[in-house]
C-alpha cells in the first residue's frame, strides 16, 4: 500500500508538468493584455508598451516559460503582475474561505444526500421516492446563483437570520464563521446533494436486489441494519467515486458562489486574475487546483479498500 501511495504521488509530477505546459501555452496565445488594464483607459499606446516591457511581457515564449518553470522548481509561483504580491501569499490569503466552504458543503451534502438516496431506494415508487427524485431534478436544474439569491433574500433580507455576504475567519470564532457559510454551502451543495442522492438511490436499488440482502432479511436483520450495514456498505464504492468527482463540481461552483456571497476565496481570485490577465496568479491557482484534484482521486482510490476488501493495491 505504502509503495502504491508513493508511486501515485510521484505520478502527479508528470501530470502537473503537462498541466503547467498547457496552462502557460493557453495563456500565451489567449488575447488580452495586462499592461493595457494596468495603464488604464486614458493611457496612450506608448504608455501601454512601456508597461508591457517593464513586466517582461515582450519576451519570447520560451524565455518566459523557462523562467517560470525554473521558479516553480524552486517553489516560487511568481509575483502577481497587478498587486506585486507573491502568488503564494495571495493563495494563502484565499485558501481558508474556499476550503471552509468546500468542507462545510461536503459535510452538508453527504449527510443530507446519502440518507435521502437510501430512503428513496427503500421506499421506491412511493411519494417519498418521488419527492427525493423531484428535489434531485430541481437541484440539477436551478443554477447555483439563483439558489444563492433566493436564500439571501429569504434568510438574510426578509428574516434577518443570517448575513448576506462575507467571510469571517475561523480564528474569530465558530459562530460567525459558520453563520457566513450556511447560505453559500446550501447554495453550492444543492447540485451536489442532487447528484449524490440520485447515485445513492440507483446503487442501493441494485444492491437491495442481491441474494445476501434476502439472506440478511431471512436471518431476521432489522431494516436499519439491512440498509446501512449490509446494503450501503456494498453500494459505497460508486457513491464515493461520485463524491470524488463532485469535488471538481464544487471547485467550479465555488467561483459562482464566492461571487454571489462576496467570499474572498480562490474562485474569485481566479476569475479576477483571468479578467485582468494576471498570468502568474492564473497559472498558480490552476496548478493548485490540478494538484488538489489529483490528490482527491488518490484519496478516493485508497478509500475503496476500506469499503471493499477485495480491492488491493
Amino acid at each position: 500500500m505504502f509503495a502504491y501511495v508513493v508511486r501515485r504521488i510521484l505520478a502527479t509530477i508528470p501530470v502537473m508538468a503537462v498541466v503547467a505546459l498547457f496552462v502557460f501555452s493557453l495563456l500565451y496565445v489567449a488575447p488580452g493584455d495586462p499592461a493595457a488594464v494596468i495603464a488604464g483607459d486614458q493611457a496612450t499606446p506608448d504608455d501601454v508598451e512601456r508597461i508591457r516591457q517593464s513586466l517582461g511581457l515582450d519576451r519570447p515564449y520560451l524565455v518566459r516559460f523557462g523562467a517560470w518553470v525554473f521558479d516553480i522548481m524552486r517553489g516560487d509561483l511568481g509575483v502577481s503582475i497587478f498587486t506585486n504580491l507573491p502568488v503564494v501569499t495571495m493563495i494563502q490569503q484565499r485558501i481558508e474561505p474556499t476550503l471552509s466552504l468546500m468542507v462545510v458543503t461536503l459535510i452538508l451534502a453527504v449527510s443530507i444526500a446519502v440518507p435521502m438516496g437510501v430512503v428513496a431506494a427503500w421506499k421506491v415508487g412511493t411519494w417519498m421516492d418521488r419527492a427525493v427524485m423531484g428535489f434531485a431534478v430541481l437541484g440539477f436544474s436551478v443554477p447555483v446563483f439563483v439558489v444563492g439569491y433566493l436564500l439571501a433574500y429569504v434568510f438574510a433580507l426578509e428574516l434577518d437570520w443570517l448575513p448576506v455576504q462575507g467571510y469571517t475567519p475561523f480564528s474569530q470564532g465558530f459562530v460567525p464563521w459558520f453563520e457566513n457559510l450556511i447560505l453559500p454551502a446550501i447554495a453550492l451543495g444543492s447540485v451536489y446533494i442532487a447528484l449524490i442522492a440520485r447515485i445513492t438511490r440507483a446503487t442501493m436499488l441494485e444492491v437491495l436486489q442481491q441474494d445476501y440482502i434476502r439472506t440478511a432479511r431471512a436471518k431476521g436483520a432489522g431494516q436499519p441494519s439491512i440498509l446501512f450495514l449490509h446494503a450501503l456498505k456494498n453500494a459505497a464504492v460508486p457513491i464515493v467515486t461520485v463524491i470524488g468527482i463532485g469535488i471538481a463540481l464544487l471547485i467550479g461552483g465555488a467561483v459562482v458562489t464566492e461571487s454571489v456571497f462576496a467570499i474572498p476565496g480562490l474562485g474569485r481570485l481566479t476569475v479576477d486574475a483571468i479578467l485582468r490577465r494576471d498570468y502568474p496568479v492564473i497559472q498558480g491557482v490552476v496548478l493548485l487546483f490540478s494538484f488538489v484534484y489529483v490528490l482527491v482521486n488518490l484519496v478516493i482510490d485508497l478509500l475503496y479498500t476500506l469499503f471493499d476488501p477485495r480491492i488491493r493495491y
Binding site: T44, P45, I51, T83, A156, V164, R268, D272, L275
Partner: protein, 533 residues
C-alpha cells in the same frame, strides 16, 4: 425571530455545542460607528496611482497621499499642501512653499526634495505633466519647504495640473519611493494624506483597509473635493469588494455595509423603498459615452462615413439603454465637453440635434465610398456600459446597411486589440465603445480622447491639425474670454471632423445608510467630512 435569537435557539446552540462553546468576538457599538464600510466601484488590485491609472486606484490614493493643490467643486485649484506660490512677472519662474508641519506616515517631514521627486515621477505619465516637462528648464529644492520651477515659456495651467482630479493625480510621496521608474510599481506605501493604508489587511480582490493618520494636519477650511480641510471623522475605512451588484444592494439594505459607491440603476427603486438608505447623484460631472472609430482604416477613415454615423445616431437610444427611463440620469450631448461646467459648449453640434435621418446618412455613406466592408466592432461584454452601447451600435449600423462583424469579448481583450494599428481584417478593429469621466472632459487639459495628433493621439489615431490648433489656443489663452473662444473652436472642429462620436451624457447614483452623513457629490468618493452615527 431575528438573527441573534435564531442563532441562540437553533443552529447557534447546536454549533456552539459542536465547537465546545467557542465565543464569537463582538464589536462594540462605538467601534462599529468608527468604521465606515464602503463598497468601491472595482477591486483595488494595485496601489500605485502613477503606475496604474485606474479610477479605483486614484480614489484609494486620494485618502493616502495628499496633493499640492486641490480642485474644488467649482473646478478651481486651491492650495492644499502648498502654503503659497509666487510667479515671476514674465511667467517663467514659479516658486512654491510648503505648509509647515506636513508629515509622511512614517513620521518624517514632507520636504521640498520629496515634492521635486514626486513631480519628476508624475510628469511622464500625465498629459499635462508631459507639457510641463517639455518646457521645464530647471526644477530644484531651494530649502526644506521651498522649491522652484523655471520654464522656457509661461504655463498658466500649473495650479490646475497640480490639483486636478483626473488620473494620474500628482500625489506627494517620499523621495526614496518617488524615485521609482514611473513604469514600475512601487512596493512601499508611505502616504502624506489623512489616512494610512493598512497593508497587512489588504486582500486584493476582497478588502482594503485605511486607518486615520493622527499626524495629518488638515487645512483650516471647509472641505470641497480635493481642496480644504481633509478631516477624517472615523477611525477606519474598510473597502469591501463585491463583484455582484445584487449582493452589494442586499448588504447595504441589511446594514452590513454603509456606503455603496456606484449602485446600478436597476436596483435604485429597491433601495429608494428602504427608509434606511439614501440615494443621490454621485457625481454631477457624470460621464460621456464614446463611440470610438479607427481613423486609419476603411470604412471610418472616410470623413463622410464618420459624419453619417453622427447624423444617424440617436443619443437617446444609447442613454435609455444605459440608464432606463430615469430622465434625471442623462442628457443629450451635442459636443464633447461636460455639461454644467464653465467650458461647456454646443458650438458646431447641430448634426447631433433634432430628428435622426437614416436615409440621409445612408446617402452620405454611399458618397463616402462605403461598399460593404466589414465593420469590426469590438465590444467588451464584462462592462455593462460598453456592452449596452455596443448592442445599440450594432442595431444602428445594421439599419444603415453596414456589414457588422460584432466581436463580443472582454475588456482585457479590447484593451489589447484597440492598440493594434493593423487593418481590421488583420487583427485590427473598426470601432469600440468606452466612456470618459465628466471630470476629465471639463477642458482639453487632460482630455486625451479629444486630441487629434495622429500617432500621438488616443486609440483610433485621428489626425486633424485644426483640432490640435484649437487645443494649443486654449492652453495659450490669456484669459477666460480667450479660453471660451478656443473651446468653441475646438468643439466645432472636433465635431465636423468626428474625432469620435459622443453617445450622450449620463450620471450615476451613489447610495448610503441614513446614519452616514457628509457625503459630497464629486468625481470621486471623498471620505473627509463623512460621519457615521
Amino acid at each position: 425571530m431575528d438573527r441573534r435569537t435564531f442563532l441562540n435557539t437553533g443552529v447557534g446552540v447546536a454549533a456552539l455545542g459542536a465547537a465546545g462553546g467557542m465565543p464569537a468576538p463582538a464589536l462594540s457599538q462605538g467601534a462599529a460607528a468608527r468604521t465606515l464600510r464602503f463598497v468601491p466601484q472595482a477591486n483595488l488590485a494595485n496601489f500605485d496611482p502613477i503606475w496604474g491609472t485606474q479610477y479605483v486606484v486614484r480614489n484609494a490614493s486620494a485618502m493616502v497621499w495628499d496633493t499640492l493643490y486641490g480642485v474644488d467643486d467649482k473646478l478651481e485649484p486651491k492650495p492644499q499642501m502648498v502654503e503659497s506660490d509666487e510667479v515671476s512677472s514674465d511667467g517663467l519662474t514659479w516658486t512654491f512653499k510648503l505648509r509647515p508641519q506636513l508629515r509622511f506616515h512614517d513620521g518624517t517631514p514632507v520636504l521640498a526634495k520629496d515634492v521635486v521627486a514626486s513631480i519628476t515621477r508624475w510628469m511622464p505619465r500625465d498629459p499635462m505633466g508631459q507639457m510641463i516637462r517639455a518646457i521645464l528648464a530647471e526644477m530644484t529644492a531651494v530649502d526644506d519647504r521651498t522649491w522652484k520651477m523655471v520654464l522656457r515659456r509661461p504655463y498658466s495651467k500649473m495650479r490646475f495640473a497640480f490639483g486636478k482630479t483626473n488620473t494620474p493625480i500628482l500625489f506627494i510621496m517620499p523621495e526614496r519611493i518617488a524615485r521609482t521608474d514611473p513604469f514600475q510599481q512601487i512596493s512601499e506605501y508611505v502616504g502624506s494624506g489623512p489616512m494610512r493604508f493598512v497593508r497587512d489587511e489588504w486582500v486584493p480582490g476582497a478588502k482594503s483597509v485605511f486607518q486615520k493618520f493622527d499626524g495629518y494636519v488638515p487645512r483650516n477650511e471647509q472641505p470641497s473635493w480635493l481642496a480644504g480641510g481633509k478631516r477624517i471623522n472615523v477611525d477606519r475605512v474598510e473597502w469591501v469588494v463585491m463583484p455582484d451588484p445584487a449582493t452589494a444592494a442586499a448588504a447595504l439594505q441589511n446594514g452590513e455595509v454603509d456606503w455603496w459607491e456606484n449602485p446600478i440603476s436597476d436596483l435604485i427603486p429597491v433601495m429608494r423603498r428602504n427608509r434606511n438608505i439614501r440615494v443621490d447623484i454621485a457625481d454631477p460631472l457624470g460621464n460621456i459615452g464614446s463611440f470610438r472609430m479607427n481613423h486609419l482604416h476603411a470604412p471610418f477613415n472616410s470623413l463622410k462615413i464618420r459624419q453619417a454615423i453622427l447624423m444617424a445616431m440617436s443619443q437617446e437610444d444609447y442613454m435609455r439603454a444605459l440608464v432606463g427611463n430615469d430622465d434625471a440620469l442623462w442628457k443629450p450631448l451635442p459636443g464633447f465637453f461636460t455639461p454644467g461646467t464653465p467650458s461647456y459648449t454646443e458650438a458646431g453640434g447641430d448634426i447631433l440635434k433634432g430628428p435622426r435621418n437614416i436615409d440621409a446618412a445612408k446617402r452620405l455613406l454611399a458618397e463616402g465610398g462605403y461598399s460593404g466592408q466589414p465593420v469590426i466592432c469590438i465590444v467588451a461584454q464584462d462592462q455593462p456600459i460598453t456592452k449596452t452601447q455596443g448592442d445599440v451600435t450594432a442595431d444602428l449600423l445594421k439599419r444603415l446597411g453596414m456589414n457588422v462583424d460584432f466581436v463580443a469579448t472582454d475588456w482585457g481583450t479590447v484593451g489589447q486589440r484597440r492598440a493594434m494599428k493593423n487593418p481590421p481584417g488583420q487583427g485590427g478593429w473598426s470601432m469600440f465603445h468606452t466612456w470618459h469621466a465628466g471630470a476629465d472632459c471639463v477642458n482639453p487639459a487632460s482630455y486625451n480622447a479629444i486630441r487629434a495628433n495622429g500617432d500621438g493621439a488616443w486609440f483610433g489615431w485621428p489626425n486633424v491639425p485644426s483640432v490640435e490648433q484649437a487645443v494649443t489656443e486654449w492652453f495659450d489663452a490669456p484669459d477666460a474670454a480667450a479660453e471660451r473662444v478656443a473651446m468653441d473652436k475646438l468643439n466645432r472642429e472636433a465635431i465636423s471632423n468626428v474625432v469620435y462620436a459622443p453617445t450622450g451624457f449620463f450620471l450615476g447614483y451613489t447610495a448610503w445608510r441614513s446614519n452616514v452623513s457628509g457625503i459630497q457629490k464629486g468625481p470621486l468618493p471623498f471620505f473627509w467630512g463623512v460621519t457615521k452615527a
